[in-house]
Each structure stands twice: as structure tokens, then as C-alpha cells.
């Protein structure tokens, strides 16, 4: 039990922080209320530090994932906290400040907003700790439910409410689907423990194929979770929600549920394993293989469709947030490729071939980079007739930004190039790992499609580069929000993207996190070891060479 507490320490810290934030957020004194954000940050910091030192959990199907995943959550969470400043209650607080209104805890949103945010992150961390389908289900719901509220209340505009309604109802539908999938998976294997499921599935596969009910469960789970990661066919909400929600919330939506979804998918797929013979659903004799065929085909189709749909739709957008939403869909597709590739059997040869590690690293990079772009949107505003300033969300608003608001402009330029994956920025290394892992798994076709999609993506990312950097500004400089922390968040992420020169430790951590995931099916360990040896022995140089 105590070991479990150690594993869950970050979540516990976050939960405590949440409680404090809830109270503080309702405090009558503005100074104290304002502490909600710093306190949330502190909590995240502590949780992150704790997370780094979390030991491996042998009971988890992804035994090493916790430190990395939770630290990543905390780290990106910190950036998000900076970004979230002033998202809600801005006009209300201003009115209170001016003395027009008296503070009334009923009318403030601050407490629940930050609390929900922390809850969501807690859920994300729990996802990483999950060893059981029930746990996973609860964690996923804990991630999602707060975000529904956050999207809805992020602005007082109707579009936020529209975003909320779409997000919530479709989210519930998605949740129902993966819940049903979980139920079937349980039915097909007789256990909800992921390791148990893994063993049961391996046993089934070895004795004539995976049980159809289990298979249906896996498929339904994956599709249901596709909603969280915004993959086809569950991606429809993405653009509408990101556009409707305030930019900081969109940034969060692009990271938190997506990460949760990917971690959940990794868990489920790890239970399935990547050791099936290509083209069949039996275990590969040498332990080197891929996902079961139907899952493989499903995921591959989803991956291809997701990146393509995301990119081609992003091409047409004028709204920055919509564009970024579609780009977020596309990135999901990219990551799916690595997920399909899985932890290469050649993992011993080099960590660069571990697809799960690549996904984990990509998630971090994507989160950071994406926050940079959203931060720029979050920092720019246009005064509205109704007094409440509105975000600038049109591409044209970026025109000449590097000249009028150099900091924001450059943040946009760097982060867009990072998303594009231009070397030597952080995004390139992330994409590079996707490439290596997918090629290691022999997914050449997927890699080529990924490459072509990156090229399509270049077109709209270039817009994000060209407009601020190269165009001459028109008219006055756009107004900026008075929240320095947002700018700081942007600068911070841009700096991270730019100073990609030393992500060594992080890559290491990501790879370590994914280490041994899914490769330790007991029934297969021996076969795999044998195959590795055979591999080394078998490979003689082709005859041409030594002449």
C-alpha cells in the first residue's frame, strides 16, 4: 500500500493543491484570490519533482512510464498555468477592482477553473499510473469532465458555450464507446487488470486467435479513446471546440486529453502486444512482429486518415485556432504511426527505434510547441464594443507581428517552425524519432505518407511564419493582454523549441519510460531472446561486399 502511495504521490499532491486552490479562489481579498494560480503552479512543481523520483511500477503494464509521464504533465502543466492566467473572471475582477461590483464568491469562476485544471492534470497522471481498466476509465473521465467545464466557461461568449455543448455531448458519446469497449475487453479476457489482459490475450492468440469479444472490446476502446486524441473518425469536435474555447484552454485541450488518450492507448496496445505475425493474428514465431492484423489495419487507416484530414483542412483555415486545431489532428496522426510501430524488438540496439518512446517524446514536444503558438493568440486581443476584449484569431492579425510585437512574433515563428519539424528545432527531433521508430518497424509506407503530410503541413505552417516575419504590418500594433505570464509562457516554450540543442535527458527519459513496454509477454520472452540471438547470428554480409 505504501508503495502505491509513493507511486501516487504526485496525484495526491495535486489533489491537495486542488483543494487549496478551491478555497483560495473564493477568498474575498483579491490578493489572496490571485494566489490561486501561483499555488497551482507550486503544486505542479512539487508534483513534478516527486514524479521524477517515482520508482518503476512492476505491476503496471508500462512499468517505467510514471516518472516521465507525470513529470511531463507537471512540466507542461506549469506552462499551461502561466498561460491560463486571466482566462476567466477578467472583466468581473476588473469591475470589482473599479468598485462597480462587490465581490461575490458565487459569481467568480476562478476557483473552479484552476481546480478543474488541476483535476484534469491529476486525471492525466492517474492515467499514467493505471494498471487496471477501471482505473483507466476513471482517470480518463477525470481528465475529461473538468475540461468540458473549462471550455464552456473559458469565455462568456456564446461560442464558448457552443464549444462546451459539442465537446461535452460528443465526449460523452466517446466515453460510452470506450466504456463499452472496456466492458467487452473485460468480458473477453475475464480480467480488468492490464497485465492480466495481456497474459490472457497472449494465451488466446497462442491457442488459435484472440477471442472476438476481446477483439471487439479492443477496437471499441481504441475508437472511443480516439476521441481524446482527436483522431478520425472522432475528430470532428476538435476545430469547433478549440476555436470556441479561449486560447489558453485550447492549448490545454490540445495537450491534456491527447496525452491521456495516448497513454491509455499505449496501455491497451501494450496489453495486446506487438508480437503478432504480420498478416495474421497468431503470435510471431520469433517474437518480432506487429499488432494483430485487424487492429493494425484499423490503426493504420486511422493514422493515415487522421493526418491527411487534419492537414488538408488546416490548409483552408483563416482562424489561427482552427488551423492549430486541425494541425493538432494531423499531429495525432503522426504519433499514431509511431504507436503502430510500437516498441521495436530491436530496442536493445538503440532507443531510437522505440515507437512508444517516440510518442511520449513527441507528446511533450508537441505540447510545449503548441503552447507557444496558442500563447501568441492568447496574448493578442481586440477591444470589443461590449467592453470585454476578444482574442485576435484571424491569420491576418499576425501580419507584421515580428515588427510590431517582436517577442510574440518570434514566438509564433519559432513555434510554427517547430511544429513544422524544421531542423534543428525541437520538433524535428521529435519527428525524427517517429521516423526512426516507424522505419525500424518496417512501416515504410506509413513513413512516406507521414513525410508527404509533413510537406502539406509546411504550407500552412509557413503562413504562420510568413505573416509575422515577412509581411509589413498594417495599421496599428495589435493590443496585448495585460498578463505577462502568458507572454512568458510563450517565450518559454519558444526558447525550449529553439534551444533544442540539449534535449538529451528528456529523450532518454522518454525512451526509458517506454522501455520494455509490451515486449515482456512472459510467453514470449524466451522466443524473443532466441530471435535476437538468431538475428545477430543470421546476418552475414551480402556476398557482393567482401569480394
Amino acid at each position: 500500500m505504501s508503495s502505491l502511495l509513493v507511486l501516487l504521490a504526485p496525484e495526491i499532491v495535486l489533489f491537495i493543491t486542488t483543494c487549496i486552490v478551491m478555497i483560495v479562489g473564493l477568498w474575498p481579498k483579491l490578493e489572496v484570490r490571485s494566489l490561486a494560480m501561483p499555488i497551482a503552479g507550486m503544486g505542479l512543481l512539487i508534483a513534478g519533482v516527486l514524479a521524477i523520483n517515482t520508482p518503476a511500477n512492476p505491476e503496471s503494464i508500462l512499468p517505467n512510464i510514471i516518472p516521465y509521464a507525470k513529470a511531463m504533465t507537471a512540466g507542461v502543466g506549469l506552462l499551461l498555468v502561466l498561460l491560463l492566467a486571466g482566462t476567466v473572471d477578467r472583466s468581473y475582477e476588473a469591475a470589482v477592482e473599479r468598485g462597480e461590483l462587490r465581490f461575490n464568491p458565487i459569481h467568480t469562476n476562478r476557483a473552479e477553473f484552476f481546480a478543474f485544471f488541476l483535476f484534469s492534470l491529476t486525471g492525466l497522471m492517474l492515467c499514467a499510473s493505471a494498471t487496471d481498466l477501471i482505473w483507466l476509465f476513471l482517470a480518463l473521465e477525470l481528465v475529461s469532465l473538468p475540461t468540458y467545464v473549462m471550455a464552456t466557461i473559458s469565455t462568456r461568449k456564446l461560442r464558448s458555450q457552443e464549444a462546451g455543448v459539442k465537446y461535452f455531448f460528443l465526449g460523452a458519446l466517446g466515453a460510452a464507446i470506450f466504456l463499452y469497449g472496456f466492458a467487452l475487453l473485460y468480458g473477453g479476457t475475464g480480467t480488468t487488470n492490464l497485465i492480466g489482459i495481456r497474459d490472457a490475450l497472449a494465451e488466446q492468440a497462442a491457442s488459435g486467435g484472440i477471442n472476438p469479444i476481446a477483439m471487439a472490446g479492443i477496437i471499441l476502446s481504441l475508437i472511443g479513446i480516439s476521441f481524446k486524441i482527436a483522431a478520425v473518425p472522432m475528430h470532428f469536435y476538435t476545430a469547433d471546440v478549440y476555436q470556441g474555447a479561449a486560447a489558453p484552454v485550447s492549448a490545454m485541450l490540445a495537450f491534456v486529453p491527447k496525452t491521456a488518450g495516448f497513454i491509455a492507448m499505449m496501455g491497451i496496445l501494450a496489453a495486446v502486444g506487438w508480437q503478432y505475425a504480420p498478416g495474421g493474428e497468431t503470435l510471431a514465431a520469433d517474437g518480432v512482429g506487429t499488432l494483430p492484423r485487424s487492429i493494425y489495419v484499423t490503426l493504420a487507416a486511422i493514422a493515415v486518415l487522421t493526418m491527411t484530414v487534419g492537414n488538408v483542412l488546416a490548409l483552408l483555415q483563416r482562424s489561427i485556432k482552427r488551423l492549430l486545431a486541425y494541425s493538432s489532428i494531423a499531429h495525432t496522426g503522426y504519433m499514431l504511426v509511431a504507436l503502430i510501430a510500437g516498441p521495436s524488438i530491436a530496442a536493445e540496439a538503440g532507443i531510437t527505434s522505440n515507437g512508444l518512446g517516440a510518442v511520449l517524446f513527441y507528446l511533450l514536444v508537441y505540447g510545449v510547441t503548441n503552447i507557444g503558438t496558442f500563447a501568441v493568440v492568447a496574448c493578442l486581443e481586440r477591444p470589443q464594443p461590449d467592453g470585454e476584449a476578444d482574442e485576435l484569431d484571424d491569420l491576418e492579425d499576425l501580419r507584421g507581428l515580428c515588427r510590431t510585437r517582436p517577442v510574440l512574433g518570434w514566438v509564433m515563428v519559432i513555434c510554427a517552425l517547430g511544429l513544422l519539424g524544421l531542423p534543428p528545432l525541437l520538433g524535428f527531433w521529435a519527428k525524427f524519432l517517429l521516423f526512426t521508430s516507424a522505419i525500424s518497424a518496417g512501416e515504410i509506407a506509413l513513413v512516406v505518407i507521414l513525410g508527404l503530410n509533413s510537406a502539406i503541413a509546411a504550407f500552412y505552417y509557413l503562413k504562420l511564419v510568413t505573416l509575422p516575419l515577412l509581411e509589413e504590418p498594417e495599421g496599428d500594433a495589435p493590443a496585448t493582454t495585460p498578463f505577462a505570464s502568458r507572454t512568458f509562457a510563450g517565450v518559454l516554450s519558444a526558447a525550449l523549441v529553439l534551444l533544442a540543442i540539449i534535449p538529451t535527458g528528456i529523450v532518454d527519459a522518454a525512451m526509458e519510460a517506454a522501455d520494455r513496454a509490451g515486449t515482456i509477454v512472459p510467453a514470449n520472452i524466451e522466443a524473443i531472446e532466441r530471435s535476437i540471438t538468431a538475428e545477430a547470428l543470421r546476418d552475414e554480409p551480402t556476398p557482393i561486399i567482401d569480394r
Binding site: L133, I134, F137, L138, E141, L145, Y148, V149, T152, L158, R159, Q161, E162, A163, G164, V165, K166, F168, F169, A172, L173, A175, A176, I177, L179, Y180, F182, A183, L184, Y186, G187, G190, T191, T192, G208, G209, N211, P212, I213, A239, D240, Q243, G244, L316, Q317, R322
Partner: protein
């Protein structure tokens, strides 16, 4: 197709023995059928109805379909995992319901309507 169902039937065959005498003729397959039917009905309801509250109720129905499946499987395997899962599902469903109602109220204030089709200004 045939083989799939055949293997399914194989899997379900011992189920009959596991259930108590009183409901002897009701197999796991029956429960699953009910569950699938509920899920499908929920889905169809979600797709066809426009009222936000009814739509939400439909998702609840889908949740409960999963619940039925879980309980059936739980009984089938003769352990409690599935049943405890259902407890959590119910909890979550309750939380969701609370949230849904709050949301619906908020939305109603915005548009004076509960028709889901009202919300289509964000698109493209």
C-alpha cells in the same frame, strides 16, 4: 463470418452451466444481447433526438448498456471485478449527469432553447 460466430459460440457454451438453475435458460448471450440493444438504442437515440436532455439520457443509456455487459460478464466469470466496475461507472455517470444539467442550464440561458441544432456557428 461463420467461424467468428462459431468461435463465439464456443466461448459462450460453458456459460449456460455457470448460471444458477433458476435462470438456467438465460445465458450470457441473452444479457449481452440486451446490452448491445441498449447501446444501439442509446446511440440511435443520440443521433435522432435533438433535445439536449434526451440526448444526454441516451448517452446514459449507453453507459448503462456497458454496465449490464459488465455485470453479466462478472457473473459469468464468477468474480466481482465487473460489478465493482459498474459501481464506478454509476458514479461517473452521476457526475456527468450533474455536469450535464449544469451545462444545459447554462446553454438554455444562452439560446433559450434546448435544441442541439441551434449550435452551429462554429464550423468549416
Amino acid at each position: 463470418m461463420v467461424s467468428t460466430f462459431a468461435s463465439m459460440a464456443d466461448f459462450l457454451a460453458p456459460a449456460q452451466a455457470s448460471f444458477p438453475e433458476g435462470v438456467g435458460s438465460v445465458t450470457l448471450a441473452h444479457y449481452l444481447f440486451v446490452s448491445v440493444a441498449m447501446f444501439t438504442m442509446g446511440l440511435i437515440g443520440f443521433l435522432t433526438r435533438r433535445n439536449l436532455i434526451i440526448m444526454f439520457l441516451c448517452t446514459e443509456m449507453m453507459f448503462q448498456a456497458a454496465g449490464i455487459a459488465l455485470i453479466a460478464f462478472s457473473r459469468f466469470y464468477l468474480h466481482h471485478t465487473g460489478q465493482s466496475f459498474v459501481i464506478f461507472v454509476l458514479t461517473v455517470a452521476a457526475a456527468e449527469a450533474a455536469l450535464a444539467l449544469a451545462l444545459v442550464v447554462l446553454l438554455f440561458r444562452g439560446r433559450e432553447s434546448l435544441n442541439a441544432d441551434q449550435w452551429h456557428s462554429l464550423k468549416g
